[in-house]
């Protein structure tokens, strides 16, 4: 039988903060929302199980999806199923919807949460590259108040986050103003229920120029992010620079794919090899650019 750590079940954010006031780096209190990651830890088969826990399932403050001030705001407990079914997400965040649809199958999507994906900080977390390319912010809170952390600063090392031991992720703010396009692609062993070998997201805005015939318009504000190729989700900034300010032509796609293969340094592990990851990431980016440009 798995271990059964003691768990507090607060019914308000204030009560949750009071519980977490006792959480320290040396003696943490581990939050549980959908449980899809942390319930595996209580088996003890992937390292030491949590010693003490706090349940978030009664905290309604962490729920809901709203559109406000040019941004979509998702409560930390928003499940992948809720993302897939949300009109606001389908309209403004199709790349996030695409990512949510690839995570586990129905049983996992019904339970796993966006806040949990962020807090778990897996290098293979499938929503994380999407959050990176969309310049999302993580709003966290604790007894000392709330603060906003750009996702680019959130994953600080392998499975380490900027979250303090006494803080919770409250919500995720994703700006949607300004006509940004985004795409998502995951490469796994099979279509469902796979952990990524490589996962990537690309976002851009179309620059000024002819809207119809003629050469494609230049891309600006290009963001490219990947998972499963480093110790944490990363932006590929050198490759972004190749794509920035130029039109997505075949020559651009070739140069970007080459740049990406040179920029990332994946490893061999149980799910894939460094060589495969480098090759498939470059190929997937090339295909993404080609599909977006329509050549």
């Amino acid at each position: 039988m798995p271990v059964e750590p003691p768990i507090a079940t607060p019914t308000s954010l204030a009560d949750a903060y009071a519980v977490l006031a006792g959480s320290t780096a040396d003696d943490p209190i581990t939050p549980i929302a959908g449980g899809t990651d942390v319930m595996v830890r209580i088996t003890g088969e992937i390292g030491a199980p949590p010693a003490r826990m706090v349940d978030l399932s009664r905290l309604d403050a962490l729920r809901g999806i709203t559109v406000d001030g040019g941004a979509v705001i998702l409560g930390a407990r928003t499940t992948y199923t809720e993302i897939r079914r949300s009109d606001a997400c389908r309209e403004h965040l199709p790349a996030l919807v695409a990512a949510a649809a690839t995570i586990g199958a129905a049983q996992i999507q019904n339970r796993g949460t966006l806040g949990g994906n962020i807090a778990n900080a897996s290098p293979a977390g499938d929503t994380l590259p999407v959050l990176l390319v969309l310049d999302a912010e993580v709003i966290v809170g604790g007894a000392r108040g709330e603060r906003s952390i750009p996702v680019a600063d959130f994953w600080v090392a392998y499975r380490r986050t900027a979250l303090a031991p006494d803080e919770l992720i409250l919500r995720i703010r994703i700006p949607v103003a300004g006509g940004r396009e985004a795409r998502f692609r995951k490469i796994g062993t099979r279509r469902a229920q796979a952990i990524s070998k490589v996962v990537l997201a690309l976002a851009w805005r179309e620059g000024p120029g002819a809207a119809t015939a003629g050469p494609a318009r230049a891309w600006t504000d290009v963001r490219l992010a990947l998972g499963s190729v480093a110790d944490r989700p990363i932006r590929a900034r050198a490759t972004e620079a190749v794509l920035e300010g130029v039109a997505p032509t075949p020559a651009t796609a070739n140069a970007a794919a080459e740049a990406l293969a040179a920029e990332i340094h994946p490893i061999d592990d149980v799910r894939s090899t460094a060589d495969y990851r480098r090759a498939v990431a470059a190929r997937a980016l090339h295909r993404m650019i080609r599909d977006a440009a329509g050549w």
């Binding site: 059964e4 003691p6 899809t36 319930m39 595996v40 199958a105 049983q107 339970r111 279509r191 229920q193």
Partner: protein, 171 residues
């Protein structure tokens, strides 16, 4: 919740949790982090729900919580307080002549949708949720609905056939 009024997670042996299983109200005294899977099998003696992998990969332990399919190995009992749980034991309906199989169970028999049977309770519950949600006989949709349920015997074809039959489509 622990007995500590401040809500600090203190070691505790058992708290009483109240929810319903297949329509019947139940009370279970258990630590909050006990898996729903273990509560069903050990406390409530409902052994139809199977443990496969114990880490949310195989779907053998699928039950419905408020109508939604979940892996019961990933649900701590403290999170089902007040919820409606449905397990494979609740599919067949009582009648004066005894239990009458759910149309989905009947379809699994008809199509030969079970071999060793360890995945079958989870398959049935995932399929039940799919049909309750308005699922049709479309093969791709059925395959997506049971993508979280692994079967090592059948090759899935007859399971998909069975769900399609129950959805009203002959294959």
């Amino acid at each position: 919740m622990t007995s500590d009024p401040a809500g600090r997670p203190e070691p505790d042996s058992a708290v009483t949790w109240r929810f319903s299983v297949n329509g019947d109200p139940v009370e279970v005294a258990a630590p909050g982090m006990r898996r729903l899977l273990d509560v069903l099998r050990e406390e409530l003696a409902l052994t139809g729900t199977k443990e496969g992998c114990g880490e949310g990969e195989c779907g053998a332990c699928t039950v419905l919580v408020d109508g939604v399919p979940v892996d019961s190995c990933l649900v701590p009992v403290c999170q089902v307080e007040g919820a409606r749980i449905a397990t494979v034991e609740g599919l067949a309906e009582p009648s004066p002549e005894g239990l009458v199989l759910d149309q989905l169970q009947q379809a699994f028999l008809e199509a030969g949708g079970a071999q060793c049977g360890i995945c079958t309770p989870g398959m049935l519950m995932a399929a039940r949720a799919y049909l309750d949600d308005g699922g049709t006989a479309d093969e791709d949709a059925i395959r997506e609905a049971i993508a979280g349920n692994l079967c090592r015997c059948t090759g899935y074809t007859k399971i998909v056939d069975a769900i399609a039959i129950a959805a009203g489509g002959r294959r």
